[in-house]
Symmetry: C2
Subunit: 240 residues, 2 copies
């Protein structure tokens, strides 16, 4: 039983990762996971000695992993003080939303030229599924499905570099504290925008697809901004 099925690929994958560049890579991915999952919250200090002990390695590979994470924009390095999980201020989050919009818009533009019948069918299945989930008010299921839908769109655009960069932006957006609030807000609204996007794709009009995709993220940015303003107001009220 243990030989067949789902746990084999995991082992093979881990081994491949270990072979490809070993400790540093493994450590880096693990820390990245911890950061994105929220186990290492923004502002948290990453103690080299402590983490090295945790992973059972020396500080060398750890420092290399830190450097990589720094270059990717996940952590901040302060000389003689240590590295910290980046706190992304609201202004930068808005900047990233704009960049994400541009990249997502590009995905739409590229997709309009590549859309196959099978893809269209699958996309419409996603739409129906999300309508269903939204109608049931199942937040827990909507969010990952929504994420999967967007990932499928970007990955189908046929531009690998785009996929990497887009992911990078989405991940960085997770380092903003308001994240949890954003998720719960305006999900019902978004599926209507999704239909507009798919319609635009189906029309084969690059510019129309671009605009639909671009505006979708721009609206997400607005929702993000409004929840931020609300919490700011709430905190102001609370402070009274």
């Amino acid at each position: 039983m243990t030989k067949a099925g789902s746990d084999i690929p995991d082992i093979a994958d881990q081994l491949a990762t270990l072979r490809s560049s070993s400790l540093t890579s493994v450590v880096e991915k693990e820390i990245e996971r911890l950061i994105l999952s929220g186990a290492l919250p923004p502002g948290e200090r990453l103690n080299e000695f402590q983490l090295a002990a945790r992973f059972g390695t020396s500080r060398g590979p750890l420092r290399e992993a830190m450097r990589s994470l720094h270059a990717k924009g996940y952590v901040e390095v302060v000389r003689n003080k240590g590295v910290f999980v980046r706190k992304i201020p609201i202004e930068e989050a808005l900047e990233i939303y704009d960049l994400r919009s541009a990249l997502f818009g590009l995905a739409g533009r590229l997709l309009a030229d590549r859309l196959t019948d099978e893809m269209l069918i699958r996309l419409k299945e996603y739409l129906d599924l999300m309508d269903e989930i939204a109608a049931a008010g199942d937040f827990e299921r909507y969010y990952p499905t929504n994420l999967e839908f967007h990932a499928y769109l970007v990955e189908s655009a046929g531009n690998r570099t785009l996929v990497k960069e887009y992911r990078s932006f989405v991940h960085r957006l997770h380092l903003c504290r308001q994240r949890t609030l954003v998720q719960a807000k305006g999900l019902y609204v978004s599926n209507h925008e999704h239909r507009e996007m798919i319609d635009a794709l189906a029309s084969g009009n690059e510019n129309r697809a671009h605009e639909a995709f671009f505006r979708h993220v721009q609206r997400a940015k607005q929702r993000f901004l409004s929840t931020f303003d609300e919490t700011a107001k709430a905190q102001a009220t609370k402070a009274d």
Copy 2:
């Protein structure tokens, strides 16, 4: 004499850089410079011992710099073999051109909302200057001026993250071998496109500005592709 004047800022600057995060950062920037300048051509292997000796440090900081350069997409790491300056294949270069288009388009869109009279004046000065240089057939001056013009546009969009990412893409594009050919081709043509871009900005129409900016890079992509095809043909002929 040695105390006064131009060499003092250099020392101060070096010291500041050394204080901020020291060896690793210095080494990283130097290697990045060597790569972008072409002193370390794509495919070149980066020997840790050699480079460490060259910079007068041990291998530790060097390896960290390598990791950072890897995360930034400048080098490729092969376990137990070493790191190599990335060879960007033509397909990936085209992908990056699309991303650059999207980001530059965003810059145009943002600029259309922020354009001041002073900026417009400065931009028109750039246009006239480049017309002049182009008329004189001075390639050597046109290229850096053109680069400066584009940098000014992106930096004026008011999005710091955009500036970083845009630069990253431009730099990566330098790792494609065809670079030198691209530079010399179609420079006269481009200033006409520049005027279109500035006109679009002046109109204050976001979408129009976006399209003008986006298409400008798309045309550069086409020029790049055509020079590549030509050299491919030339090589095919040569092979006969």
